[in-house]
Amino acid sequence: MDSATAYKLVTDWARVEKEDTSGIEREANGDFYGKAAVLGFQFDNARQNLVVRGRIMIDADKLSKTQDMMQELHRIAREEPDRVVHAQFEIVRMPWDTGEQPTLYLRRDYKTSESESKLFDEWRKLREMAYLWHRTYFRQAIGPIVERRSKAK
């Protein structure tokens, strides 16, 4: 997927979601990044890769300091992909994040262009799934690990 195609996808997404693309920053080398209709977008022109992210939790540095929680999240993504609409968990700090710490996201990568309707459907599901992880699923997944830890002490 080239930069122009990726950018058109994102602007079309913003349009159908009744928002604008004022949050998207374009760079001279074809890269762009920013938020539109709640999702975060990042295009790497050198790798011809569009990353789409849905936010789960801010200030997620504490997750990256303990291995067992992220291992469990990665296991869910690998073994039960429907629970994360085939996305991956990622802890990263993006330019639009408000704090100093990184944020926990659900992330999907796109290297080839597909039909807009199919893509937008996937993005809506990604947005909804990230929100549900924010509201409840995260604690349901991580809670048992915390319980095991306290019993082991």
Binding site: G34, E128, T136
Partner: protein
């Protein structure tokens, strides 16, 4: 100035407004699932109509001000009344239209018919408002209705990416609070307030932050509300500003809060403040007052606090135990969708159309709303009736909900 016939007409308009709201809420609850199936095209059609109403509102506002100037020559009272009622009625129509947008096209037609009826009655009753204003209102509403049947091509006003001061912590002097400054304190003639605790206040939609103005506490906005809250509770009040992009943009964001996850600056600021309080050992108490959209922002922030606690090593049960140190008092906002843990107290004016509209919208998103939903005792759900002539008047934090706090809790003495 105004005779019995006029007030009778206004009463009729108010009753019609209530009927319209009942239709919207009832219709919305039944049809919200169907609305999603009908698809974006129908919703867009409705939103086009909303745009037309917004334009009508702006035009009406301009014309009403002109009318007010004319009326000023007749009587100051007539001017103030005409301006206030006409603008409020136009804003109310916009609000109703947005509520309908989450319901269905069928409900929209019913609601717009009702709105048209209300406007006809209001305008017919407002004998002092020049005919040009009423004719224009009816014309633009009729245009809005006509657009409902046309292909979708309009949108809500585009939401700016970075609203000024969004998520800013507001303190004394109606300025950004720094670590060395206080919140807004109760007013005392002798300048010696007796401070009782701290309240964090999150404002609702369409709220101004008149920082830098000569007397920001005299102007409608977050600072005036903070001052009234401080006076009513004797608390120091710290604001978390939920920036406004205008009524229509705020309502769009309000629906986004329910539907998707609105990661606004106010959500992040409030989340970090609450987490800082309850993650201490022992956890610190914190009281949050939330009005209107501020309630939805608070729900988002609370879910985030719970995640933060679990990620920090608290079991979900321990996290909820820590969150019991949070006291959340909400006004004119969602009655459901509050994460378990904190202590809640809700104030709902039965004449306020906003809580019902939010409930209708939430029913369209049951997983998001009810998957972690606190069981709030009935004793902590305060319902009261405070009707106003204008339909949006019952939603006011300044004129309704803070007065209700005083009515129920009493006015404490805040001065030495």
């Amino acid at each position: 100035m105004f005779g019995d016939a006029f007030y009778a007409a206004l009463d009729g308009a108010t009753n019609a407004a209530k009927s319209a709201m009942a239709l919207i809420v009832t219709g919305g609850k039944k049809l919200v699932a169907g609305a999603e199936a009908v698809g974006a095209e129908v919703v867009q059609d409705v939103k086009i109509a909303v745009n037309a109403v917004v334009k009508a509102e702006q035009w009406a506002e301009k014309k009403t001000i002109e009318a007010a100037k004319w009326a000023e020559k007749q009587t100051v009272r007539a001017e103030k009344w005409a301006e206030k009622k006409t603008i409020q009625a136009a804003k109310w129509a916009e609000k109703e239209a947005v509520a309908v947008a989450v319901a269905s096209a069928e409900a929209a037609v019913v609601a717009f018919d009702a709105v048209k009826t209300v406007f006809s009655e209001v305008v017919a009753g407002a004998a002092s408002v020049p005919c040009t204003v009423e004719n224009a209102l009816i014309y633009d509403l009729a245009t809005a209705l006509a657009i409902l049947g046309r292909p979708a091509h309009g949108l809500f006003p585009k939401k700016p990416a970075n609203l000024p001061h969004d998520g800013e912590i507001v303190g004394a002097g109606c300025k950004a609070k720094d670590p060395n400054s206080t919140g807004v304190l109760p007013q005392c003639p002798n300048g010696k307030p007796r401070i009782s605790g701290t309240i964090t206040y999150v404002n609702g939609i369409n709220t101004q932050y008149p920082t830098g103005k000569a007397d920001p506490f005299d102007q409608d906005g977050i600072c005036k509300s903070m001052q009234l809250l401080a006076n009513a509770t004797c608390a120091q009040v710290i604001g978390v500003y939920n920036a406004t992009g205008g009524m229509a943009r705020d309502l769009e964001q309000c629906l986004t809060n329910i539907a998707k996850n609105s990661d606004s600056g106010a959500v992040d600021t409030l989340s970090r403040s609450m987490f800082a309080a309850v993650s201490q050992d022992p956890p610190q108490d914190m009281t949050v007052y939330a009005h209107s959209q501020g309630g939805l922002i608070t729900q988002e922030a609370l879910a985030d606090v719970k995640n933060q606690l679990v990620a920090s090593g608290s079991s979900p049960a321990d996290a909820e135990a820590r969150m019991q140190h949070l006291s959340i008092k909400s006004f004119g906002t969602a009655e459901e969708g509050w994460p378990a843990g904190p202590n809640y107290e809700q104030f709902t004016n039965l004449a306020d159309p906003v809580p019902g509209a939010i409930s209708g919208a939430q029913l369209g998103y049951p997983s998001q709303t009810f998957s972690d939903n606190a069981n709030i005792p009935n004793a902590d759900r305060h319902y009261f009736l405070s009707p106003h002539y204008n339909p949006i008047g019952p939603h006011s934090i300044d004129n309704v909900y803070i007065k209700q706090i005083i009515a129920e809790k009493g006015q404490p003495c805040c001065c030495d």
